[in-house]
């Protein structure tokens, strides 16, 4: 027997027994769900998965019946219209998102398992995006059966509307790759014709061959002019229409002048006037830089996708309201304003609406920033994406889909993502001045040389335009920022706003929120004290049985602690609001609740040690005779918090702790982490004032919070970092989002941002120095266009490879 679950790797309690046979050995699993999944995998001959995988799987849960019922809805023709693509008469194709994929072995397992199903024609899973493309024969297998098969091996598959969401992005990306390929191919080939011409002494190449080489260059440059460079023309045209001089204006002018001058030289047989190689090399290098930038943008955009997934796919519709309360499963896309739905406790509300019946609370952290659930009763409005916490609600829908407030927030986030970094904006502004000066210089040198030596005037102008193109300048900042952003995203730190990285490099003070940031932010069982004869496991199991039906945070903490224990059956559960719960377990009456609630019931009151977990909530379990156990439930510190604080302090950064909690809880945390400056009982106004004070002292502040109750102060700080793990919704409020809540990434991010800023500075100095050197040379006629374009290329390559030092190296 192993100590950890064979399937998911979680610890296995000694009291449970869910064995599976794997390669002639008996292995232990932690629960019935994992056992069933492991058995399915082994039985279908895919046990190789366990040999190949590098990370444990997610803990598997048995599918509740209503989810199975929902999955079956996907078989309806009407619903399939939106995401299923009919290929031939019976073969259909759908895009699915797979949840739970952690490593390559998962991809392999899912592929093999789906492929084995009779009726499945093909399946193809994308490792990077976790999307599956499944093609099946509709007469032999239904879509719901495929989805069920995926859940049988412990993953979840959701249909994904690829047509609408991704088609456009996909098309643009493919077009960018094609343009880059065309330019690259043309550059290599044209260079092959150009090198002999440059290297051979004058007259060494027979004039006939020379012109043949030039004509060949022209043919191979045409695709670049007509296809690859089109985005530059479009941007220039857009800039011209708005009356500005943009980055792409000199590029377009440079390409056009160089191309048509070369064409003119070719037709008129002017030797040393053909520079098609410069054109294609120039276009290729610029397109390459843009392509790299696009990759990082897309990475950051994936954060929004998880917000969209907040809205559930299904709802329970009460079709005959108010005559009957019976509900049927319906998809959210089928809901119309005016429909009445039932939202059970723990479920997400699928649309904006008004409560018709029920008394509950909803967690609206997403929109209002309020972390506590807000009471909802008849007549109150509810918002899509918020979670119903305590009891069922009947809701009349007023808005769905794109009209909801959540959709509005997603649009905001999209906009923030499209924002350009401040540094890049500054570089652009600088570059547009540069461009204007450059165009003047080019025109000026043409006119000047027209009087000195008319034959050379055109070529000197081309050299001026090509040598100094501000691509090194415009490439310097985005390339470095892109590389650093990509590196961080790979580690698990998403940058959602452009300016975040550069501000991070200048940060001198870090302010932490307590709950949810340095601590886990949810209730966990910290310690258990036995007061009677029962063992720890027995009393915990009874407590969990009593809390079986409750959604209260304390109940969840107890259930979480008892997850591995077999739970006895409980009956006659009766919860007394604000006090506790009473019920029968194995024929005996038990109570679980606050010490006062228990003492009202017992003949001999019990007492707890005075200082036992003063910062926790205490819950006592008792039967008629005496109190049996006491549980201290409170927040626990994240494992990597102390190390992270120490690392920050070593870097000379001031660490502050701000919390709305009581002094004793905050002080004990600050002491254990070594934070000298802490403030307890801080209201949101206090927090704002504190950060404002620091800023007035001229300090740059990084605020780290869980994004829910800290929304205003996160907005006020110079740069903010939201924890992304607990609540997906928190992501909307931070400049950066810490996925997986790994605090250790914060010092790493600070170090990387410093390095990135250093590299940007080097790049800008290099670009400025190069231009200062090259421009006078070109104007004075010491550079031919081909030397100019080589100089430009070398300069761009130096800038890009300098930036690439920030890219994460694969170990």
């Amino acid at each position: 027997m192993t100590d950890n679950c064979f399937h998911c790797g979680l610890p296995v309690s000694e009291t449970v027994d869910f064995p599976v046979r794997y390669r002639d050995k008996t292995e232990a699993t932690c629960c019935a769900g994992c056992q069933a999944v492991a058995q399915t995998i082994i039985d279908s001959g895919l046990s190789e998965y366990y040999a190949h995988r590098t990370q444990g799987a997610r803990q598997a849960e048995a599918l509740p019946t209503d989810i199975l019922q929902q999955i079956r809805l996907y078989d309806s023709e009407e619903l399939q219209k939106s995401f299923v693509h009919q290929r031939e008469e019976n073969s259909r194709e759908a895009a699915l998102i797979l949840e739970g994929i952690t490593c390559a072995a998962c991809v392999w397992l899912n592929e093999q398992h789906i492929r084995q199903l009779p009726g499945v024609l093909s399946v193809d899973i994308n490792y990077t995006s976790h999307r599956a493309r499944v093609c099946w024969d509709n007469t032999r297998i239904k879509l719901s059966q495929i989805l069920e098969a995926v859940s049988a091996i412990g993953y979840r598959a959701h249909p994904y509307d690829a047509e609408r969401q991704e088609a456009l992005a996909q098309k643009q990306r493919k077009q960018a790759i094609s343009r880059l390929w065309a330019a690259g191919l043309s550059m290599m080939q044209v260079m092959m014709y150009a090198v002999p011409v440059y290297l051979a002494p004058d007259g060494d190449i027979d004039p006939d061959f020379l012109w043949l080489l030039h004509w060949a260059s022209l043919i191979l440059t045409l695709p670049v002019m007509l296809y690859s460079a089109v985005p530059f023309y479009q941007n220039t045209w857009r800039d011209l229409k708005t009356g500005r001089v943009g980055m792409d204006t000199p590029v377009t002018i440079g390409i056009f002048t160089a191309f048509f001058a070369s064409l003119w030289a070719l037709i008129n047989k002017i030797p040393h006037g053909v520079y098609f190689d410069s054109v294609s090399m120039f276009v290729f290098l610029l397109l390459g830089g843009r392509y790299l930038e696009g990759i990082a943008r897309r990475k950051a955009g994936e954060a929004t996708e998880s917000l969209v997934k907040l809205i559930p796919a299904f709802a329970h519709r009460a079709a005959n309201w108010p005559d009957s309360r019976a509900t049927e499963e319906a998809t959210v896309t089928m809901l119309n304003p005016g429909d009445v739905i039932l939202v059970k406790p723990g479920e997400t509300i699928p649309g904006d609406g008004v409560v018709l019946d029920g008394n509950s609370a909803a967690n609206e952290a997403l929109i209002s920033g309020e972390s506590r659930p807000i009471g909802k009763t008849t007549g109150d409005t509810v918002i899509a994406g918020s979670v119903n916490t305590s009891s069922p609600l009947y809701i009349q829908i007023s808005q769905t889909g794109q009209q909801t407030r959540l959709a509005g927030i997603v649009r905001l986030l999209d906009k923030a993502l499209a924002e350009k970094p401040r540094l890049a904006v500054a570089a652009d502004r600088f570059a547009s001045w540069f461009v204007a000066l450059l165009l003047l210089a080019a025109a000026g040198s043409y006119i000047a040389w027209h009087f000195i030596d008319p034959a050379r005037a055109l070529w000197i102008m081309v050299a001026v335009l090509v040598v100094s193109c501000p691509c090194a300048l415009s490439l310097a900042t985005p390339a470095a920022l892109t590389a650093a952003t990509g590196h961080l995203a790979g580690l698990g730190l998403l940058t959602t706003r452009g300016h975040a990285l550069e501000t991070l490099a200048r940060v001198g003070d870090v302010v932490f929120d307590k709950t949810g940031t340095l601590t886990h932010g949810d209730m966990r069982l910290r310690e258990q004290m036995q007061l009677g004869q029962l063992t720890e496991a027995q009393s915990l199991a009874i407590a969990a049985a009593l809390e079986q039906a409750s959604e209260h945070p304390l109940a969840q903490a107890i259930r979480l602690a008892a997850a591995a224990l077999p739970c006895p059956a409980s009956t006659r559960l009766d919860s007394i609001a604000g006090k506790g719960v009473q019920g029968e377990v194995d024929g005996e009456t038990w109570r679980l609740g606050s010490p006062e609630f228990i003492n009202q019931w017992l003949t001999v009151p019990m007492t707890l040690p005075a200082n036992w977990h003063a910062d926790c909530t205490l819950v006592v379990l008792a039967n008629r005779q005496a109190a049996q156990a006491a549980f201290a439930i409170g927040d626990t510190v994240r494992a990597d918090a102390a190390d992270m604080v120490q690392q920050l302090q070593q870097r000379g950064i001031n660490v502050h702790l701000l919390s709305g909690d009581g002094a004793s809880a905050v002080q004990s945390l600050a002491d254990s982490l070594g934070i000298a400056d802490w403030h307890a009982r801080a209201t949101p106004e206090d927090k704002l004032a504190f950060v404002g004070q620091l800023q007035q002292e001229g300090k740059r502040v990084l605020m780290v919070g869980d994004g829910i109750n800290d929304a205003p102060v996160l907005a006020r700080a110079d740069v903010s970092l939201a924890m992304g793990g607990g609540t997906d919704v928190a992501r909307a409020s931070g400049d950066m989002v810490l996925m997986g809540d790994q605090l250790a990434l914060i010092p790493q991010a600070l170090a990387l941002s410093k390095k990135a800023l250093g590299i940007i500075r080097q790049n800008l100095w290099w670009a400025a120095g190069y231009n200062l050197l090259a421009l006078p040379l070109a104007i004075s006629g010491h550079l031919t266009p081909w030397l100019a374009s080589l100089g430009m290329a070398a300069s761009s390559l130096i800038v890009v490879s300098n930036a690439l030092r920030l890219v994460k190296r694969k170990s």
Partner: protein
Amino acid sequence: MESLYLLIPLSIVLAFVIAVVFWWATRSGQFDDMEGPAHRILMDDDRPAEDKAAKASDEH
């Protein structure tokens, strides 16, 4: 040297052929997933075939 009259046009044709091949490759999704195939090749499985053979022999 006269062979250049043939070779240079040939190289142009070749370049266009390569361009078409790349165009086809992007269109058909060869660059969509840059990581998956690298992992997949390591998990080339021959076990299911054995299992199937074993199952088939069991049935006899």
